[in-house]
């Protein structure tokens, strides 16, 4: 119960905040006294400043573009990470590709905090013209989450006894058919769980997006940080966008929840 309150309280506060007018933003009441949907409207029609002319906002564009940007960057980044990661994990798990060395050093990308290499990365990206492009963001997201993809999926593939694949092989299936008809269906739960995990990572990524794609390919987390006016932060709009931003993850999680259960409980048949 305590844990529940602990984890849900911020969410509840965010919901409450998103329905409050500017005068109530700093008030302690949970139920808004004068509920308003202005905050949500402001996300889509930024020309209508919340709280009248008192708040001059720097936001000029609606959230539709950042939303699409986020979907593209996080979505494609996830798809690439999962595809490449699965094949890499399969090679490592079945054929010990690269020995123990390579698989261990894929962890390197996670050993340094992103902040340490974001500056050189920006210089590098600038020199090859990748700043503010989809390709730049997608490539970065793929590279950064690939480690997770490999390690997570290696675990799931390790759980599949190689006999199942060998049996299919002896039945006359080619190695690609085995992968398609036996390995992937059997690891499906794990793959989907890994994909969701990676999607959420990419979706909520802030630092890289802020540094390398701040004007054109703005993503949602960056957009949230932009709701700042001359006199202070626009908490209502931020809360509203924060809630809107959780929707894709929730929807995705809901669609695949059946697979998630098998993904988390998957094990040997006996």
């Amino acid at each position: 119960m305590v844990v529940l309150v602990w984890t849900l309280a911020p969410v509840a506060w965010m919901v409450s905040l998103s329905f409050k007018g500017p005068t109530e933003w700093y008030a302690p009441n949970v139920i808004p006294m004068t509920p308003t949907i202005d905050n949500y409207i402001s996300l889509f029609i930024p020309t209508n400043p919340v709280g009248g002319s008192f708040f001059f906002t720097s936001i000029t564009e609606p959230i539709t573009k950042p939303l699409i940007n986020s979907l593209i960057a996080a979505g494609l980044g996830t798809i690439f990470a999962v595809l490449i990661g699965f094949l890499a994990a399969y090679g490592v798990s079945r054929y010990r590709a690269g020995g123990t060395f390579v698989i261990f050093f894929t962890l390197l990308t996670r050993m340094l905090p992103g902040a340490t290499f974001v500056a050189p990365l920006m210089v590098f990206y600038a020199s090859i013209g990748f700043i503010d492009t989809y390709a730049g963001l997608i490539m970065l997201y793929t590279a950064v989450t690939l480690t997770y993809a490999i390690w997570l999926m290696k675990g799931f593939i390790d759980e599949i006894p190689p006999e199942w694949e060998e049996a299919a092989l002896l039945e006359g299936a080619s190695p690609w058919t085995v992968l398609r008809k036996i390995t992937i269906p059997l690891t499906k739960g794990g793959l989907v769980a890994s994909a969701l995990f990676i999607f959420i990572l990419n979706w909520s990524e802030f630092l890289f997006a802020l540094v390398i794609s701040v004007t054109q390919v703005t993503t949602l987390p960056v957009q949230i940080s932009k709701y700042v006016s001359a006199v202070g932060r626009m908490y209502g709009s931020m809360a509203a966008l924060g809630l809107v931003a959780t929707i894709p993850s929730l929807v995705l999680g809901y669609i695949i929840q059946k697979h998630l259960v098998t993904g988390f409980t998957f094990g040997r048949v006996r």
């Binding site: 006999e163 199942w164 060998e166 002896l170 039945e171 006359g172 299936a173 059997l186 048949v269 006996r270």
Partner: protein
């Protein structure tokens, strides 16, 4: 032409030599059993035949065709794995049909083939059950069905009964034997259980440390063990092995140990090589020792009963002949209890003599 021929197979895993030099043949409809303790290279040999491992050197011929460079999916060999490897996400029908689907067999033909195989192995009533819900004996049958539905040239079985508890194993062993007879294709069977080998195989190859120690018909292996290892490995309870020496006095030839003297004059001619003064081991199977309360045979040896294990039609007697512990298997004798003295007679035709140094049989 043999159905399967294996020539000078050798397999290294790093520096470990799993298979050293293995050669054998399997004829049409024959079942050959590779028998040996774990780590003797029997499963590796089987996996090389199936194409799942590449041999370091040596050749494999199926139907006279060299298959070394043919990938496993094109060898037409059926393999039943130790834990059966039934695809858990497919139904029994789809499991059996898998290979046919891969081969793009037309629907109607596929159905008849699967149903034929299913009724042969007795799973025609559970075709819709998913693989993960099968019991062990069903899995075994489906695994066999999945292999035979493709009309393989060869069937390989890798310890198919080792995961099963003793009671079910007996039943499944019998069932496996029946299926084998009905299917009638050349089979290589890998096991570490000598009883399985004796009951299911036509011929047995006893393996040890990557080599075939002895190969022959089941009867031959049982009666004429060529080495001490084979003698120890086959048979339950295990053969009695007694350190002894051979001495001649006049025409009489006797095997003598501390507390035991066995006259083998009639057998002396069959002994190969010069054996006087060498350390020998006398071997006799428990069932080749007969017991009697009175001394009815002049050669009978007196023994003291230490323990009687009634195991049904026959009992196992733990005897002490002087300081030598010997097992005998004979009919139950109501008057014989712990501490009784009995007269034991060794069946001279069934004696084995091994050289202690070379471990090879000399009789």
């Amino acid at each position: 032409m043999p159905k399967l021929e294996v020539k000078n197979l050798r397999k290294l895993f790093g520096t470990f030599e799993a298979v050293k030099d293995v050669s054998f043949q399997v004829e049409e409809k024959e079942t050959l059993c590779l028998l040996g303790p774990s780590g003797c290279g029997k499963t590796t040999t089987l996996r090389i035949i199936a194409g799942l491992e590449a041999p370091t050197s040596g050749e494999v011929f199926v139907d006279g065709v060299r298959v070394n460079d043919i990938p496993p999916q094109k060898r037409q060999i059926g393999l039943v794995f130790q834990d059966y490897a039934i695809f858990p996400h497919l139904s029994v029908f789809e499991n059996i049909a898998y290979g046919l689907r891969v081969r793009k067999t037309p629907g109607a033909q596929l159905k008849t083939k699967v149903h034929d195989a299913a009724s042969l192995i007795g799973v025609d009533r559970i075709l819709d059950v998913p693989g993960k819900k099968l019991g062990l004996s069903e899995m075994q049958r489906v695994a066999i069905g999945r292999s035979i539905v493709l009309d393989p040239k060869l069937l390989l079985l890798d310890e198919p009964l080792s995961n099963i508890d003793a009671k079910a194993r007996e039943r499944m062993r019998a069932e496996l034997g029946r299926l084998q007879k009905e299917i009638g294709i050349a089979t290589v069977y890998v096991t570490h259980d000598q009883l399985e080998a004796l009951t299911l195989a036509d011929r047995i190859a006893v393996m040890r440390n990557g080599l075939i120690e002895q190969i022959g018909t089941t009867g031959n292996i049982y009666d004429n063990a060529r080495t001490l290892f084979v003698a120890r490995f086959i048979g339950s309870p295990t053969m009695n092995l007694i350190d002894c020496e051979l001495t001649r006095s006049g025409k009489q030839v006797i095997l003598k140990s501390e507390d035991l003297v066995v006259d083998i004059t009639e057998l002396a001619e069959a002994i190969t090589g010069k054996v006087e003064g060498r350390e020998l081991i006398l071997g006799i199977r428990p069932e080749d020792i007969s017991l009697n309360i009175k001394k009815t045979n002049p050669r009978a040896i007196e023994a003291e009963v230490q323990l009687v294990e009634p195991i049904g039609a026959k009992s196992i007697y733990h005897l002490m002949i002087g300081r030598i512990a010997v097992l005998a298997k004979d009919y139950p004798m109501p008057d014989v209890n712990v501490g009784s003295r009995v007269w034991s007679t060794f069946n001279a035709d069934k004696l084995h003599v091994f050289d202690k140094k070379t471990e090879e049989a000399i009789l």
